[in-house]
């Protein structure tokens, strides 16, 4: 196995492991805000690792450029969506009079 393949395998194992841990964390947590925290690492750590593996495999070809574009879109949109979700949950808590620390 060449060094190229070892690096790709390590990146894939790291990325898939992070994504699975985030899914398990999402399932195991009981409060909504705790669950929301598990979306962050999936976007920020897992996605770049998997996309880096694809870019190493494909090189800077059309496929590599598309994979890089996907990473940029997911990284930019992930933070916006997480923030918007947290804001909407906060507003829902305020409106219903529920203590959001229990959410």
């Amino acid at each position: 196995m060449a060094g190229h393949d070892i690096v790709i395998s390590m990146l894939l194992a790291f990325g898939v492991g992070i994504e699975l841990l985030c899914c398990l964390g999402l399932w195991a947590m009981r409060r909504t805000f705790d669950r929301l925290h598990y979306v962050g690492p999936a976007v920020v750590l897992g996605t770049p690792a998997l996309v880096a593996a694809v870019v190493i495999e494909e090189g800077f070809s059309s496929a590599g450029a598309k994979a890089f574009t996907i990473a940029v879109i997911l990284l930019l949109s992930g933070s916006v969506v997480t923030h918007a979700t947290a804001r909407a949950i906060h507003r829902a808590s305020m409106r219903s009079g529920e203590d959001e620390r229990t959410r």
Partner: protein, 86 residues
């Protein structure tokens, strides 16, 4: 099966906790599970494109990544409690 297809198959298992949460949890928890599930589906398509050597699948992953962003924002907008008020 190569390493890409193995990674895609293992990554698909991550959809199970998201699906269980969508079935059993409250509305906001479902939305969070949906966000993570849409991210995982994009990454699975990316890995499948690399594993199957099908460049057209990259376009599918790119379209899915582009469309999941406004889709989730629309969900959030419609789920907000004061939606429809001036």
């Amino acid at each position: 099966m190569n390493v890409w297809l193995w990674a895609a198959t293992v990554l698909l298992l991550g959809l199970l906790p998201c699906g269980i949460l969508c079935l059993r949890a409250g509305l906001w928890d479902c939305l969070i599970a949906f966000e993570l599930a849409s991210l995982i589906s994009v990454l699975v398509m990316l890995l499948l494109a690399a594993g199957l050597h099908r460049p057209e699948l990259y376009d599918l992953a790119l379209a899915s990544a582009l469309l999941s962003f406004p889709g989730t924002l629309i969900f959030i907008r419609f789920l907000e409690p004061d939606h429809g008020r001036a």
